[in-house]
Symmetry: C7
Amino acid sequence: MQGQAQQQAYDRGITIFSPDGRLYQVEYAREAVKRGTASIGIRTAEGVILAADKRSRSPLMEPESVEKIHKADEHIGVASAGHVADARQLIDFARRESQVNRLRYGEPIGIETLTKTITDHIQQYTQIGGARPFGVALIIGGIEDGEPRIFETDPSGTPYEWKALSIGANRADIREYLEEQYDEEMSLEDGIALALEALEDASSDDGLEPTGLGVATINAETETYHEHSVEELEEILETHGLLATDEDEESDDE
Amino acid sequence: MQGQAQQQAYDRGITIFSPDGRLYQVEYAREAVKRGTASIGIRTAEGVILAADKRSRSPLMEPESVEKIHKADEHIGVASAGHVADARQLIDFARRESQVNRLRYGEPIGIETLTKTITDHIQQYTQIGGARPFGVALIIGGIEDGEPRIFETDPSGTPYEWKALSIGANRADIREYLEEQYDEEMSLEDGIALALEALEDASSDDGLEPTGLGVATINAETETYHEHSVEELEEILETHGLLATDEDEESDDE
Amino acid sequence: MQGQAQQQAYDRGITIFSPDGRLYQVEYAREAVKRGTASIGIRTAEGVILAADKRSRSPLMEPESVEKIHKADEHIGVASAGHVADARQLIDFARRESQVNRLRYGEPIGIETLTKTITDHIQQYTQIGGARPFGVALIIGGIEDGEPRIFETDPSGTPYEWKALSIGANRADIREYLEEQYDEEMSLEDGIALALEALEDASSDDGLEPTGLGVATINAETETYHEHSVEELEEILETHGLLATDEDEESDDE
Amino acid sequence: MQGQAQQQAYDRGITIFSPDGRLYQVEYAREAVKRGTASIGIRTAEGVILAADKRSRSPLMEPESVEKIHKADEHIGVASAGHVADARQLIDFARRESQVNRLRYGEPIGIETLTKTITDHIQQYTQIGGARPFGVALIIGGIEDGEPRIFETDPSGTPYEWKALSIGANRADIREYLEEQYDEEMSLEDGIALALEALEDASSDDGLEPTGLGVATINAETETYHEHSVEELEEILETHGLLATDEDEESDDE
Amino acid sequence: MQGQAQQQAYDRGITIFSPDGRLYQVEYAREAVKRGTASIGIRTAEGVILAADKRSRSPLMEPESVEKIHKADEHIGVASAGHVADARQLIDFARRESQVNRLRYGEPIGIETLTKTITDHIQQYTQIGGARPFGVALIIGGIEDGEPRIFETDPSGTPYEWKALSIGANRADIREYLEEQYDEEMSLEDGIALALEALEDASSDDGLEPTGLGVATINAETETYHEHSVEELEEILETHGLLATDEDEESDDE
Amino acid sequence: MQGQAQQQAYDRGITIFSPDGRLYQVEYAREAVKRGTASIGIRTAEGVILAADKRSRSPLMEPESVEKIHKADEHIGVASAGHVADARQLIDFARRESQVNRLRYGEPIGIETLTKTITDHIQQYTQIGGARPFGVALIIGGIEDGEPRIFETDPSGTPYEWKALSIGANRADIREYLEEQYDEEMSLEDGIALALEALEDASSDDGLEPTGLGVATINAETETYHEHSVEELEEILETHGLLATDEDEESDDE
Amino acid sequence: MQGQAQQQAYDRGITIFSPDGRLYQVEYAREAVKRGTASIGIRTAEGVILAADKRSRSPLMEPESVEKIHKADEHIGVASAGHVADARQLIDFARRESQVNRLRYGEPIGIETLTKTITDHIQQYTQIGGARPFGVALIIGGIEDGEPRIFETDPSGTPYEWKALSIGANRADIREYLEEQYDEEMSLEDGIALALEALEDASSDDGLEPTGLGVATINAETETYHEHSVEELEEILETHGLLATDEDEESDDE
């Protein structure tokens, strides 16, 4: 009781510290991230894989409209978890920054540069009053100087680089799975399989439906973003024995 | 009691997160949507149907002035549910954006583009202080590159694409009815009938009165918005056995 | 007790939603409207009638200065109920908009156009912080393309079109009387009589005093606003047996 | 107790409505008016009379510096009651508006026009945040097109026209006296006498001291503001038997 | 208890009214004035006298630096009581206004004009949010058109003209002394003596020390401000039997 | 208890008065000054002495970086006590003002002029909202027209001139020591000794370490600021028998 | 209990003083610094050493992306502890200031100058409302005029110069270790060893892993920043017997 009352005293203000030096609003924004379905990023020698659980609420909803994987530039993809409308703001910001870089310097923006421009933007919403923090985490993956790279942004505005990571629901379980199974030298295809296996492992369902998934890759050679179609996903799921058996109602999706 | 007191601590601020990562003001705005009468959107191969329950409070009120179905552009209609004055703001915003697109690019705005411009606008009201969120949901339907499309916007600023959906009162019941009866290949006329049946099914009354309804279609071939007159509605209701039998006082409406 | 405490938690903020999706400040502004004396609007084939109860507090007060009926443009009148100073702001706004329309387009502003410009203005005061909503409702009546039309604005900024309506005190009683007695085909003179009868019916006094009334008409043919003099009103009241018998102190008012 | 606690919840905010539709800050500003000494305005066929109780706190204070009656323009006087410093702001505003009118249109400003410009200014302080309402009421009297007119402004920003009125302390008593004694056809001199009798009647003292009074007239013929000297007042008081008998300490005032 | 809790509810806000129409912040600022040592102003036919109790806290403090009497212009002096730093702001304001008047009109500013410019400035800090009222009262004395005049400003921004007055500590006692002893026809020297006697009368000490006093005069003939030296003061005190007998430690002050 | 609760009600606001006319935030800022180590200023016929206790927290900290004595201009030094970062803001402000004076008028700024410019700046932070007061006091010493002068600024923005004073910790003890020992005619060297003796007297330690001290003088003849080196201080301390005997670890400091 | 409640009353406001003259928000920001892992700065005759504990949360995280040591300019390095996103803001600020100095003056910025520019920036966030303080401490080390120098900044904006210091977790233990072992004349290599020994001493683990460390030096002769590679660190750790024996999983990191 005592602790709770004390906590309430601090979390009303947007940008102030608690006595133990924490920013509650930022921590609550992290809870908003956990409420979102999982997204995964994996880096292999051949490129970057982004995968996301994007099950829709109703068979009448177009699965494409559940936005979890976004193309930010030719060579950069972004996966998100958390508050969808907030994610859109940051994706738009990322796209503008990417275009500005091409216009100003005549070359694609670096993955690390883009990430840090975004995290600096996010940090402002945790220090300056008059707005709340962004309730979303991003995985920013792409090719920089021929090298695949993956970064994470969180609501505090801290950037981290990963070999493989997950954000959103079941983060701990999926990370443990990735830590056990990850091999830096695997192929892009094996990376996709690992991402899907990790999602399936953390899911309470048996198998995955292609319409409830989003998968994109950025190939290190071509440096090009590719979003997988439902057909491609179905084939991959089948190949790896991950296809849900009771999937019947949504298979004829265009 | 405990839980209620805790909740009160968070919902006073417009733009802050609760400890479990939710934005109460956005959730309360969703309640404002539920307080509004139902609107329905249905996509068929032949076009888009928008339908709304717009019963007026008094026989002296002009039913036309109950605004639920709006023409946003030649090829786009919008149905709303929730706070009427808020809806007007977003409709005006949509109309301006549509006109700007025609002026700037010489072509009609895309349905998805328009939707996302609106949801980005809505999101700002959930993150920046000094204003409350919009207490309204919209169904934005129209023809894009010859294809009928329907999108939903909610108070958080999240866009979703649907084959068929409802917003406002009785949302769950009407969605269930639509999930059971929806057929993507049906004709525009059958789509209107389905929408009206869904409204009637969720209503406590027996049958529907044409003056208490709003129905508009956007034909995929002509790409033109058409709002149905009371006479047209009466004919359709009669054809499908949905006409209220006790409708007597408002039938002579111009 | 519980409920009251909970309510207090929400109604302090100007622009926030309560957990059940209501805007308390707007609802309290509606109470301010109810505290005002009644105004009535009636539409007939021959034109528009605006009538208002404008009894003054003292025989020394000039009844003309109790502002309830206002001329907004040659062809538009406005009746108000609620906070007088707020009404003046909206009337001024209406007059400016009307003049701007004449200057810009060389023609009188439409009744619906004017109404919606006003309601959009009102809505801003319910969503953006730093100000309270307007505590007033308006009846905006006039002639548009030869047709008499009457609209209502309320503190939420919602526009509605009516055949006949009342705002302010005794709204429910007067509306019921109007619903029973209203006939769309009656003459302008009969419309005035109906409005006065409705006011008298809802009043606790026996009969009406001409100095305590405001009546204006906008004739569909001449499209001209006319405010009735005390003498004209006295004659009408006498003709319809509505003249207060104990009216003695204020009859010689200039 | 209950009621009081509830009231406190609403009156802290400057510009918000209470659940019963009242603006407490405006009502408290009216209390500030009642705390001020009385001012009276009377309209006769011959002109306008403004009179005020301006007793000073100490014989060492210059009675002229107790500001209750102000000249706003050649043809306009203003009497105030309430917060003195606030009154000065509105008087300055009135003088500027009067001068602007002369410069812009080459003619004296109308009494009604000036009043409504002032009340619109006052209303802003009751709706927009960041300031409190004006704690003062004004009687604005003058000659317009040869006709004497008197208006009242209150803290809500509502304008009313009167034949005779009082503001400030003992308002109810003085109004009752005026209602009984007022005669529209009386001379300017009789009007002064009536105002002074009304002040004396409401006062607990026996008789009035000329140095504790302010009286100004605006003559309908000359359209000129005239502030009465102590000597003039003494003579009038004597003539009407209103002179205080114990007046000895301040009679040699310059 | 009840009363106190109620009071707390209102005095937190800077610019709002209490239910009985008072502005607590202004009243508390008046308390800040009372916490300051006394200042006195006296008007005689020969000119204006300003006097102040300016005892310093320590013999090491330079008595000249205790600012109570200020020269605002050649012909105007100002005595203050209350918050010293606030006084400095208003004195600077007064000096600027005086210089502006000389530059703009080529003549010295009037005492009344200057006072009202200052009180209008003070009033703003009692109505507009974002700042607190000034915690200081001023006595503004000088020669206008050959006539000595003295005005008072208080934290509400109200101007009053006096023959003689005091502000700050012991105000009531000193005023009573002045009311008894004041004679409009006395000489400037007698006015100084009266001011010092009044200070000594209200003081708990026996006699006055010249270093603990500030005295300035503005002569009606020369229209020039003169601040008295410690030596001049010592002589005057001795002449009038007001010199403290135990004054030994500070007499060698330069 | 009662008193404490009442106090809490007022000290939350930055710029408001308490019922007894005090500004709590300014008083709390004075507490911040008391939390700082002591600084002393002494004026002699030969010039100004500034001295400060600047013991560092660790032998690894550079004693020079403990900022207590600052050169503001060639002829002006400033000693501070209280919040270090706030002091830096005011020192920077003082330096800018000094340079501006040289540029604008071609001469060194006066000590009194500089002090009052600073106190006016400080006062703004006690009246205008949106910032807290400065938590620092300053001793501003220098030569003006050949005369040594010393001023104090406090968090309220009040300027005082002194012959000798101390600010910060042990203020009362040190002032008492200075009052007893101060002699206006002593030499600059004796003034330094007096300052160090006063610091030693108030300290709980036996003797002083030169690295824990800051001493600067401004010579009345040369009008030049001189900051004493550790070696100079060691010699002075030894001469006056004030050198700490156990000083061993920091003596070889460069 | 009492104390806690009292504390809560003050720490909600960003920029206000508590009754005992403390700024709680600044003190809580210091807690945020203590929550960060340790960073160490050591100054030797040969140059500056910066070292930091930068263990990552997961073997999949790239250790390089844990930002603790930053190059600010050719001759300046910065080590941070605390809120990572806040540190980035200050590092960016430092880099901009360094570049501006080179552009404006054609020479590298001084270490002290840069530090004080940063602390002045930090101070603003503790005095002006609308933002929280920075939750980070910095060690700013570099070569100025051939001399190695190290400064500390804390959340209050106070600058201190050190011979050797630590910030972040275990500050007291590491400082004690440094005070015992520090020798100003040691070589750069010995300084690195001392920093690592201090980190190991304060750590609960046995030995250090090179991938969990950050070490940079700025050589006094070359005046150039050098960040040590994992290989270089491994060699140093082995030489000094500080290499963790169970380090196996991350050794092949590129």
